[in-house]
C-alpha cells in the first residue's frame, strides 16, 4: 500500500508510551495525548481474588492492543509501536489461555467448551465483577 507523507513523518516520540498498568487505568497509552480532568487522580482498581486479577490483566493487554491498533491505523510505519503491539498481543493470548484453562471460556474458540455440560452459560461479566 502507498502510504501518505503525513503518516510517514509523524511517528511517536521515544518514551511517549505510558506503562502498561497506568496507561490502562488512564484509558490512554500515549503520554503526549493524555489530558487529566481537573485534579482527579487515577486510582487502582480493587481486585480481591486470583480470577479477577487474571481477568484484569487480560483486559489490560486487550486495551493496550486496541489503543496501539488505533494509533497504527493512522501511523502504519511506526516500528516501535508495532513492536509494543506484538508484545501486548502475545501477553494477551497467553493470559487468555491460562484463564480459560483455570476458569471459563471467554470466547467460543476456548478448549474449555469441548466437554459437557455446556460451559458457555457461565461467567457473565457482571457475575465476575458484581
Amino acid at each position: 500500500m502507498n502510504h501518505i507523507n503525513y503518516f510517514k513523518n509523524y511517528l511517536v516520540k521515544d518514551n511517549n508510551l505510558t506503562s502498561d498498568n497506568l496507561g490502562f487505568l488512564r484509558g490512554n497509552m500515549f503520554e503526549d495525548l493524555y489530558k487529566p480532568y481537573k485534579n482527579y487522580q487515577i486510582k487502582e482498581v480493587t481486585i480481591t481474588n486470583e480470577k479477577d486479577k487474571l481477568l484484569y490483566e487480560i483486559s489490560m493487554y486487550a486495551f493496550i492492543m486496541n489503543d496501539l491498533a488505533l494509533y497504527l491505523d493512522t501511523h502504519p510505519n511506526d516500528a516501535n509501536v508495532l513492536e509494543k503491539f506484538v508484545e501486548a498481543k502475545m501477553r494477551y493470548c497467553n493470559l487468555v489461555n491460562e484463564y480459560e484453562k483455570k476458569y471459563n471460556a471467554l470466547t467460543l474458540t476456548s478448549d474449555s467448551l469441548n466437554t459437557t455440560p455446556w460451559k458457555w452459560l457461565n461467567n457473565w461479566p457482571n457475575g465476575v465483577y458484581n
Binding site: Y37, N66, L70, D73
Partner: protein
C-alpha cells in the same frame, strides 16, 4: 463480523445503589452524545469511507464504542441492583419504572428515547469526519458533567476511563482528516 468476548473493557466494581446517578449516566447510553449513537455513527460511515485508512479506523473505533455501551449498561445495572418500586418512587423515577420496570432502556437523562437523528452521514468525507470529531468532544464534555455529579470513587474510575477514550478518538479522527486533506 463480530465475536463476543465475555468480559468488560474495563472492570466495574460499583457496590452502592444510586438510582438518580443511574438515570443521568443513561444519557451516555442512549442520549445524543452517547455510546450507542457513537457506535452506529462510525460503523455506519465505515462502509463508504474512500480508502482502507478510513474504513479501518471507523470500524475499530465503532467496535470499541460497542464495548463502552456494555460498560455503561453494567454500571447502570450495578447502580440499580436490588431496587424496588419504592426506591424508584423515592428517587422521583415513577415515570421510568412505569414503562421499563427495572430494565435498561436507551434514552437521554430527561427520558427522550434514543433516535438515529443523533447520528449523521452526509456523503462527504470531510463533513463526516468533522461530525465524528465534534461527537467525541461533546461526549467528553458530557462525561465531565457526569464526573462533576459523581462522588462514588467506583463510579469515577470507569467515567474517567471513558472520558479519556474520547480524547484519544478525537486525536485519531483528526489524523484521519489530515490524511484526506493531504491526499
Amino acid at each position: 463480523m463480530w465475536m463476543y468476548e465475555k468480559r468488560l473493557a474495563f472492570p466495574i466494581n460499583i457496590k452502592k445503589r444510586d438510582l438518580k446517578l443511574a438515570k443521568v449516566i443513561m444519557s451516555q447510553y442512549g442520549g445524543p452524545q452517547g455510546e450507542l449513537g457513537a457506535a452506529l455513527r462510525y460503523l455506519n460511515q465505515s462502509y463508504t469511507m474512500p480508502d482502507d485508512y478510513g474504513k479501518t479506523l471507523l470500524k475499530d473505533i465503532g467496535t470499541e464504542e460497542l464495548s463502552h455501551v456494555e460498560m455503561l449498561c453494567e454500571m447502570m445495572v450495578a447502580l440499580t441492583k436490588g431496587a424496588t418500586y419504592e426506591d424508584f418512587k423515592e428517587a422521583g423515577m415513577e415515570d421510568y419504572y412505569t414503562e421499563h420496570g427495572i430494565d435498561l432502556y436507551p434514552q437521554n437523562a430527561s427520558g427522550l428515547p434514543f433516535t438515529t437523528a443523533y447520528i449523521s452521514s452526509v456523503g462527504d468525507v470531510f463533513a463526516n469526519i468533522h461530525e465524528d470529531m465534534a461527537a467525541e468532544e461533546k461526549a467528553r464534555a458530557v462525561y465531565e458533567n457526569l464526573i462533576d455529579l459523581t462522588t462514588d470513587p467506583e463510579v469515577l474510575k470507569p467515567l474517567l476511563f471513558l472520558r479519556q477514550r474520547e480524547i484519544v478518538h478525537y486525536a485519531r479522527f483528526k489524523e484521519l482528516l489530515e490524511h484526506y486533506k493531504n491526499k
